[in-house]
C-alpha cells in the first residue's frame, strides 16, 4: 500500500511533468542537430530517436503521468464545479477597496432592480438569496472552462494513442509505375521488403505541366484500381489530392525516368515510307518482307555520344541479324566516311530491301506513388481537435464569479462587490470596477 502511494505521488507530480517535458525538448534538439552519418555504434539510436526505446519509454512515462495527474485532479475540479455560491467564500467581503463599497440611501427594491438589470446578460446566469437584512446576488460565467484542462490532456493522450496505432497497424510504402504498367506489389519503406495488396494499381497516364518560368505546376497520374481483373475505380491523383481505396491512401510523391524509353521509327520499302511505329525495348513488330519480325533490344537516349539510338534484332526464316539505328545517322556518316563498311551494324539499309530510320526516342516517365495505411489518423485528428477545443475553453474563457451583497446597516444600505476568477483576475477586477461605476450612476440618476 505504501509502495503504491509512493508510485502514485511520483506519477501525479507536476514536477515530473516539467522534467519530462524538458527531457523531450532536449532529445528533440539533439535529434535535429546531430548528423545522420558518422555516429559511433553505441549511439546509433540517436540517429533514429523516434523509434528508439528511450523515446518510447519517455512517452510511456509521460502518458502515465498525464493519466495519474488527471485522475488525481478530478475531485478537485469536481468540487470547484459544484461549489455553490452560498455561502460565499469566507473573507470575500473583507478588506475591500473603498470603491467596492457603495453607500446609498435608496430603497432596497430600487437597488435590487438596478443590480438585477446590471447582471442580466445572455452569457451568464445570476441568482439571489435574501434574508431580512441583506440580499446576496451571485453571477457566474464560464464554469465549463474548468473542464478545458481535461479536454486538452485527453487530447494529448488520444494523439499518442493514434500515433501508436499507426505504427502498429499501418504501413508506408512506395510504388513506381511506368505509364501503362500495373502492379500490386509495393516497396515497404526503410527496406523492409515488399507487400502484396489485394488489388492492382495501373498507371494509365502520367502528366507534368510547367509554368512559363519552368517551375512545375502540376503532376498528375491517372490511375485505375483493378481487382479480380476488373477496373473498380478510376481517378486522377494529384499532389495534395490523395486517393483512398479500400482504406489505403495513394499519394503523388515523385516521378522519374523509366529505364525503357519509347522509340518512334519507320522504314522505307521500295520508295514508300511506312507509318510511324512506336515501340519499347522488348517489343516486337512485323516486317512486310521475308516473313521477318523485328524486336527492339535497347532504346538509348544518347548512344556513345552519338544521340538517340535503337538496337534491333531482326529474325527471319534464315536467321538473325542485329542493327543499330541512329536518329542522326546522316550526320554521323558524313563525319565518318566509310562507317558502314567498318561497322555494318550501323547501316540502316543493312536488312535489304528495307531502309530503317529512327524518327526520335521519347522519354518515358514513371510515377512514384506513396502508399500509406494508417488506421491511427482519425484518432490523431480527434486528439488534435480536442487539444484546440480544450485550449480555447481554457484560455478564451474563465470561471468568473461575482457577488454583490446589499446589506442594511446603520449608516444606510451598503452595496459590496467582490469577485473570484480562476484566470485573468485583472479582467474581472476591471469588470467589477465597471459595475461599481454603473451602480453609482443608476442610483444617482
Amino acid at each position: 500500500m505504501k509502495k503504491a502511494n509512493i508510485l502514485w505521488s511520483f506519477f501525479s507530480s507536476v514536477k515530473l511533468t516539467l522534467v519530462l517535458l524538458c527531457l523531450m525538448v532536449f532529445l528533440f534538439i539533439v535529434s535535429t542537430v546531430i548528423p545522420q552519418q558518422n555516429i559511433a555504434p553505441e549511439f546509433t539510436w540517436l540517429a533514429d530517436i523516434y523509434h528508439s526505446k528511450i523515446f518510447y519509454l519517455l512517452t510511456a512515462v509521460f502518458s502515465l503521468n498525464l493519466i495519474v495527474c488527471s485522475i488525481n485532479r478530478w475531485p478537485v475540479t469536481m468540487k470547484q464545479y459544484k461549489s455553490s455560491c452560498f455561502p460565499p467564500p469566507s473573507g470575500l467581503f473583507e478588506n475591500l477597496p473603498k470603491n467596492r463599497i457603495i453607500v446609498t440611501d435608496k430603497k432596497m427594491t430600487d437597488i435590487e432592480r438596478v443590480v438585477e438589470s446590471l447582471l442580466s446578460s445572455k452569457i451568464s446566469t445570476w441568482k439571489k438569496t435574501a434574508t431580512e437584512t441583506e440580499t446576496l446576488f451571485y453571477r457566474e460565467r464560464g464554469k465549463f472552462s474548468l473542464w478545458g484542462v481535461y479536454v486538452v490532456h485527453l487530447g494529448v493522450l488520444v494523439i499518442i494513442a493514434g500515433a501508436l496505432m499507426g505504427s502498429l497497424f499501418g504501413f508506408e510504402a512506395d510504388l513506381n509505375l511506368a505509364e501503362g504498367e500495373a502492379s500490386n506489389t509495393v516497396q515497404l519503406a526503410k527496406g523492409r521488403g515488399t507487400r502484396q495488396l489485394d488489388f492492382s494499381i495501373q498507371c494509365n497516364q502520367f502528366i507534368m505541366e510547367f509554368y512559363d518560368t519552368g517551375a512545375p505546376k502540376t503532376y498528375r497520374s491517372d490511375l485505375s484500381f483493378i481487382k479480380g481483373g476488373q477496373v473498380i475505380h478510376q481517378g486522377s491523383l494529384l499532389v495534395n489530392h490523395p486517393i483512398t481505396f479500400e482504406g489505403i491512401r495513394f499519394y503523388q510523391a515523385s516521378y522519374g525516368l523509366a529505364e525503357a524509353g519509347k522509340a518512334v521509327l519507320a522504314f522505307n520499302h521500295a520508295g514508300t515510307e511506312s507509318p510511324e511505329i512506336q515501340v519499347k525495348a522488348g517489343e516486337t513488330f512485323d516486317l512486310p518482307v521475308h516473313n521477318a519480325k523485328a524486336t527492339v533490344l535497347r532504346v538509348e537516349e544518347n548512344m556513345m555520344q552519338m544521340g538517340p539510338a535503337v538496337k534491333l534484332n531482326i529474325e527471319t526464316d534464315k536467321g538473325n541479324m542485329q542493327l543499330w539505328l541512329f536518329q542522326h545517322i546522316k550526320e554521323i556518316a558524313e563525319v565518318n566516311p566509310g562507317l558502314f563498311s567498318e561497322v555494318p551494324m550501323f547501316n540502316p539499309g543493312l536488312f535489304k530491301p528495307l531502309v530503317f530510320s529512327l524518327k526520335r526516342t521519347e522519354k518515358q516517365y514513371y510515377t512514384g506513388l506513396r502508399v500509406v495505411k494508417d488506421p491511427g489518423v482519425p484518432l490523431v485528428l480527434i486528439g488534435g481537435l480536442m487539444l484546440l477545443i480544450g485550449m480555447i475553453m481554457i484560455f478564451f474563457f474563465a470561471h468568473q464569479r461575482v457577488w454583490i451583497l446589499v446589506h442594511q446597516e446603520t449608516e444606510g444600505i451598503k452595496i459590496r462587490l467582490a469577485g473570484r476568477s480562476n484566470r485573468y483576475q485583472e479582467a474581472l477586477q476591471r469588470q467589477i470596477d465597471h459595475f461599481c461605476v454603473q451602480i453609482q450612476k443608476e442610483l444617482t440618476a
Binding site: V25, T32, R249, V377, L388, F395
Partner: protein, 280 residues
C-alpha cells in the same frame, strides 16, 4: 505605386514610428506618443494595402495565391501580425511605452526582408506541393502565434529591465515610471503567451493536415516540424510552471525570452540544418 515600393516605404514608416515611440519614452510628452500611434496605424494601413496589391498582382500574373508562400512574403506577414497585435494591445492597455520595444522588431523584420541576400521578393507561382488551402491557414496561424510570442518577448525584456532598475533602487521616477507596472507586464507576458500557444497549436495541427494531404504523413520529424514542437513544448513548460507551480515575474520573463529564441530558430535557424523533406 507598386507593392514593392509601398512595402519599402512601410519599412521607413515603421522606423519613424519607432523613433517617435522613443521620443515619447524619453521626452515624456504624450504628443510624441499620439504621433507615434498615428504613424504606426498609417504604416499598417499602407502595409495591408501593399499586401492586397501583391495578392492582386499574383492574379494578374495568372497564378493567383495568397501572398504568404515564400520567405519574403512570410517575413512581411510576420511584421504585419506583430504590428496588428501590438496596436490592439496599445489600444487595450492605453499605454504607449511598449511601442519602443515591439515596433523595432517589426521594422527589423521588414528591413531584413528587403535587404537580406537570398530573400527573393518576386511573385512566384506555386509548385504542386504548395497548392493547398491548408498551407494558407497553416502559415496564417503560425505567424499569428509567432507575433504573439514576439510581444511576450518584448514584455519580457522590459520586465527584466524594469525589475533590475527597481531592485537596485535606482531612480524610477523618470520615464521608467510611465512604463506599465511589473504586474501589468507579467499579465501581458502571460496573455500573449497563451494567445501564441493556441495559435501555434492551430498552426501545428493545420500543418499536419496539410502534410497528411500532401505527403501521406501527418508527422515526419522533419527538423522544422520538430522545432515547432520544441517551441510549443517550451511554452507548455512555461504555462505549467506558472499555473501549477506558481512561477511569476522574472522567471516567466526569462522563459518568454527563451521561447522567442526557439521561435526564431524554428523560423529561420532550421534552414541551416539538413531538411529531410524531399518531394516534388
Amino acid at each position: 505605386m507598386s507593392h514593392t515600393m509601398l512595402l519599402s516605404y512601410v519599412t521607413f514608416i515603421y522606423f519613424a514610428a519607432f523613433v517617435l515611440y522613443l521620443f515619447r519614452m524619453i521626452l515624456q510628452k504624450e504628443f510624441w506618443g499620439i504621433a507615434a500611434s498615428f504613424v504606426a496605424w498609417a504604416g499598417i494601413a499602407a502595409q495591408t494595402l501593399a499586401m492586397i496589391l501583391r495578392w492582386k498582382a499574383s492574379y494578374n500574373l495568372g497564378f493567383g495565391h495568397v501572398p504568404i508562400t515564400n520567405l519574403y512574403e512570410s517575413l512581411i506577414f510576420f511584421a504585419w501580425s506583430i504590428m496588428l497585435l501590438y496596436l490592439i494591445i496599445e489600444w487595450r492597455i492605453k499605454n504607449r511605452m511598449l511601442g519602443a520595444f515591439v515596433v523595432p522588431v517589426a521594422f527589423l523584420i521588414m528591413a531584413y526582408a528587403s535587404i537580406a541576400p537570398g530573400v527573393n521578393n518576386s511573385i512566384e507561382p506555386l509548385i504542386p506541393a504548395l497548392q493547398s488551402n491548408w498551407l494558407t491557414s497553416h502559415v496564417l496561424t503560425c505567424f499569428m502565434g509567432y507575433a504573439a510570442f514576439t510581444v511576450a518577448f518584448g514584455c519580457g525584456i522590459l520586465y527584466l529591465w524594469k525589475y533590475k532598475k527597481e531592485a537596485v533602487g535606482s531612480d524610477t521616477s523618470g520615464w521608467m515610471a510611465h512604463m506599465p507596472s511589473l504586474d501589468v507586464l507579467d499579465a501581458l507576458i502571460y496573455q500573449s503567451t497563451t494567445l501564441g500557444f493556441v495559435f501555434l497549436a492551430l498552426g501545428i495541427v493545420t500543418g499536419s493536415v496539410w502534410a497528411h494531404y500532401a505527403w501521406g504523413n501527418y508527422w515526419s520529424w522533419d527538423p522544422k516540424e520538430t522545432w515547432s514542437l520544441i517551441t510549443w513544448l517550451i511554452y507548455a513548460i512555461m504555462l505549467h510552471a506558472r499555473f501549477v507551480r506558481g512561477w511569476r515575474g522574472q522567471r516567466m520573463a526569462m522563459l518568454a525570452i527563451i521561447g522567442f529564441v526557439s521561435v526564431l530558430f524554428t523560423y529561420l535557424g532550421v534552414n541551416f540544418l539538413v531538411s529531410l523533406h524531399n518531394y516534388i
